[in-house]
Symmetry: C2
């Protein structure tokens, strides 16, 4: 039964996607503006749903099963969050139409012309985490780029997500875009079932790794001078540390190690997603690169050095979406890169890498216009 | 055991790929020239292997288990095939270096600069069919773009492939490129095992669909005037036809139907890969588009019409790598598009679509150079 209803969701999305191929930039712009207006009108309902989500989450925080930082991300009412979300729709609407751009053309023969033209990928399946406003960001990006989308957000914000997506669908009802262009699913089981329906789904964006630093590699030559101040600074900021034997041996015997552990090999393959970090001593940049390429997430890696040659070697050799020299890994974000709204940060090595915005939701097709041309004339 | 040796092949490829990141354009060019020279020197050994492959295949042709057209594709000796293969290496060598191109840059702040730079995808797994010279084409494309590759060709040309790849590895021995940058595997079972090793493999290119026309959709309004001449022309060229009921009913009672079958639904989802075609009557371009989007291979679809509006609608609505108007689908090929050598034609809708050449073997990374910049200053 679950399977049947998900096949229907996937078919709906594919049919909506087929219709989206024909729409003009004006059609898509009209829809974005309509969505913005309806969200504005339904602000009170959406806030009511958000209140309820926060009340439910608050119980989980008190029970110790939800972190305070996750709770904070649920909130859609504080400050100018809602207004920023709406402004995001207008920002995306104002971008140039990404569809139908000719990125290559060639006259193959008299009367035979080849064009490579940008077009939507088709049906996106997007899984994201706590922040409910992401459903609106992704809707705007998907429709601007002519894609249908099936969305799943964090279960803690389910009421807010439902309110937002029902506002979106009701807005689409007033446009030429089928409301099924944007559909919400709620459970992990539904995602598993949808992943089997790859006949209908063209692109899946999993939740991206976040941009917290997980591992610190420190050069042996500066161990005695730099380790202690570094560890102390991190400890003062409440970071739980996993130190390798060599760095551990550098701490004075009297050092307070209540927030310091001896690291195990698995620590270097772990995304702690918390105030937690592994520390390892390396003998040179080659060892650092090799460690990162074996254990890293391929998201973002940074080197701190005054030596330009070493920095260049690092940036050339490390296989990651972002490689930084003397800058915080927290810059790994579409907004900070100046790209505007993003779907997420990709650690893939095909299609889109790093922040994924409009460009990552497009592919191209080749259009060939002839006059009865056949190949044998070209042999 | 098989698993262990394949893990080793995959690790070898990954290590070679890591080394390839640092090589200069000159290093890679030197390797291509060396490969060309060694292939030239070992021409006699390679031809001997090819002779043996052809003798073995000839028995299969006589036993009726291998088609004559496949046999023809095995051959590397006839005409200027070998010379063309070597020339292909030089052609690829002469192309501009695709790596390290800055495709985007932005100054985020004083002393904080962001660059998007092209880089190799990493480790390619390429599965191709009968023509053994493909191993050389792909080697040249892979090395030019700084990628390592694991290759599997058709089993009928295994001796030729082994001779070619051992020549390639021996050539690489004289260069800074690790010989393991190009490795050959022989069986389907090895591919299955490699597909599980996605930690080491970044991109898989399956054999592409070929560009033979599989289905003819004919507009009802021209059925009585055009069907019979079409069917007769196809029959005269020995094409086995699968006609739907409506088109079948158009044939005169006396018509010779020994090479005509009544079509079944599965015919529209079948790649015949032979002189064979399904025929279906449609009432308009919308029905044609819907049929193609439900049953097509997403490779290439063509419309024959004098009506520009209909043609544009077709090219907009059909979801395929190539959409043609009044031109043969056999143009779907990197050489005919003027792109030079290709790895294959992609029917994917992400990363690369249509003919896949150098560009499809590249991705990018973001390089950020700062001066101790942290994010909090930007909040």
């Amino acid at each position: 039964m679950l399977k049947d209803s998900l096949v229907q969701i996937a078919i709906n999305a594919r049919e909506a996607s087929n219709k989206l191929q024909y729409l003009t930039a004006e059609d898509r712009s009209f829809a974005l503006n309509r969505i913005k207006a309806v969200l504005e009108n339904k602000k009170r309902d959406i806030f009511k749903a958000n209140e309820q989500d926060k009340q439910n989450a608050d119980k989980l925080v008190k029970a110790g099963t939800l972190s305070a930082s996750l709770f904070k991300r649920l909130d859609l009412e504080s400050g100018d969050k809602f207004a920023t979300m709406l402004q995001g729709i207008s920002d995306i609407d104002r971008l140039p139409d990404p569809i139908g751009q000719i990125t290559y053309s060639s006259k193959l023969d008299e009367g035979l012309e080849l064009f490579r033209v940008t077009c939507p990928v088709g049906v996106l399946l997007v899984i994201f985490e706590a922040r409910p406003e992401v459903v609106v960001n992704i809707t705007a990006l998907a429709l601007k780029s002519g894609n249908a989308a099936i969305l799943k957000g964090g279960k803690e914000s389910i009421l807010t997500l439902t309110a937002l997506s029902s506002a979106i669908q009701s807005a689409l009802n007033d446009t030429v875009i089928p409301p099924n262009a944007i559909q919400l699913v709620e459970t992990r089981e539904e995602i598993d079932a949808l992943l089997d329906l790859d006949k209908y789904i063209d692109l899946v964006n999993y939740p991206a790794a976040c941009n917290a630093a997980e591992t610190l590699l420190i050069h042996r030559s500066i161990l005695s001078s730099h380790l202690l101040p570094l560890v102390t600074a991190l400890q003062n900021n409440n970071v739980l540390l996993h130190l390798d034997q060599e760095s551990l041996s550098q701490l004075p015997p009297s050092y307070d190690t209540s927030r310091i552990q001896s690291c195990i090999p698995e620590d270097f393959d772990t995304e702690f997603l918390d105030l937690e970090m592994a520390v390892k001593v390396v003998s040179d940049v080659e060892e650092a690169i090799q460690h990162i390429n074996s254990h890293g997430s391929k998201h973002t890696d940074a080197i701190v050095t005054e030596n330009e040659q070493i920095a260049k070697r690092f940036m050339q050799g490390v296989d990651a979406a972002g490689v930084y020299w003397n800058a915080s890994t927290r810059f790994a974000d579409g907004f900070r890169y100046g790209f505007g709204a993003e779907v997420g940060v990709s650690t893939n090595k095909t299609h889109a890498r790093g922040p994924v915005g409009l460009e990552g939701l497009l592919i191209y097709k080749y259009k060939l216009c002839g006059n009865g041309h056949v190949v044998s004339e070209f042999e």
